[in-house]
Symmetry: C2
């Protein structure tokens, strides 16, 4: 077992080394972070009595720590108290790739797999910071405008955190990989792009008249790509955090 590590990259271990199509892989921290930050949903895998579970949830990142919302809380709880090994994966589908034989059909995508040991965030200050971050990371500055969570609401929310120990990113972003011998075949081949986009914001009927869309939602314009917007709000959130820490 060889562990390679540089400041810019995660170590490669038997756990995160990409075995299949390894030319599509990277262990670069920024590449992993970009893929994580551009997604709203992740999938978290954990094990209970030998049985794997794969739970979709909302995640956010601070440095090399990942946090997520405590979906399936009751199932995970006992595992987490012992410090559970977890794999958190984020994927973006970017295109359908159609070739001249079945084997060369593919997809364009970006994905990141992150490994670590999950723990419950239950220290009051740390949990309060996390509950602020879950709002402000997506909608920078929004938490200051909200009615604060009650003690009961805070108690009912579960936050799980994990420092990324190792991780890998994998991506395909290109045209059809037809064999040269197939170029002449009279069959359509190409890429159908796929994009996840925002619709027009729908205001709740219970909001008082005169309330307009706030500045912290400026990035969420109709028709914009969700991954781009989330990348921007993460960058803005990090800037605002830095400013606050300095002032």
């Amino acid at each position: 077992m060889t562990i390679q590590t540089t400041e810019k990259s995660f170590p490669t271990t038997p756990r995160n080394r990409v075995k299949r199509m390894h030319e599509r892989a990277t262990y670069d921290r920024d590449a992993v972070f970009d893929i994580l930050d551009s997604a709203f949903l992740c999938h978290v895998s954990y094990v209970i009595d030998g049985q794997p579970f794969c739970t979709p949830t909302i995640h956010w990142r601070e440095g090399d720590w990942l946090y997520w919302h405590g979906s399936s809380a009751s199932r995970m709880l006992r595992q987490l108290e012992k410090g559970a090994p977890v794999c958190l994966t984020v994927s973006h589908l970017d295109g359908l790739v159609l070739a001249r034989c079945g084997f060369n059909h593919s997809a364009n995508y970006r994905s990141a797999m992150c490994f670590g040991t999950a723990r419950i965030i239950d220290q009051p200050e740390e949990k309060a910071r996390a509950l602020k971050a879950i709002v402000d990371r997506f909608y920078p500055g929004r938490s200051a405008e909200l009615r604060p969570d009650s003690a009961q609401e805070i108690k009912a929310t579960m936050v799980i955190g994990m420092q990324i120990e190792d991780a890998s990113a994998k991506a395909r972003a290109k045209g059809v990989g037809d064999d040269e011998e197939d170029y002449g075949l009279p069959v359509w081949a190409g890429v159908i792009p796929v994009k996840t986009v925002l619709g027009r914001p729908e205001i709740s009927p219970h909001v008082p008249e005169g309330v307009v869309l706030p500045d912290h939602l400026a990035a969420y314009g109709e028709g914009r790509a969700l991954d781009e917007v989330l990348g921007e709000t993460q960058a803005l959130y990090e800037t605002l955090g830095e400013t606050a820490a300095r002032s």
Copy 2:
């Protein structure tokens, strides 16, 4: 442990029973199938020496069997020979839900978690059928137009199959869940819809002149929602399969 089962529903077991927000859950087969069929990507969780892995891949369904492409083949191989417990999850993000306190923030989504025992599909006829299905399920009728896979290509492709033993679906599809006491607060609240859509098909530069977009891609129109298109192609694929079996 109580096992309930009806023809229309998957049995509920300690493994698939939804613990959190169970009012959003169903065990109805058609509800689970609809969510599976509307997605191109899934996430598969499996365990190796106590370590969970969460791998994104392409899946397809025939009746209550799920198949997927053998990503991470080398890692899973040894596990699968013994018959590995697997959890395959599909999720759709449909909206971001912004409320008047942090606690009531949420997301609109549809997800399905499926449990079973995975095995490698390596019987020649079964594997050939699966490799045809991976093309025709998404692009009904396309496989007949393609250059057939070579023996070497078939060998290099790994197909994994699993009969769904139990499963659950979970969905949120509604407006903001603000507390009534918060209705008067002068803060924007609402839903930002999210949709995954298709772009304009980009033909490969290596396709001979005069080849036009084929009928089997008619559903993949620019701007259409991917989940709707995939639901339609699954239905069409099932119809064509039935016709072929009858003729």
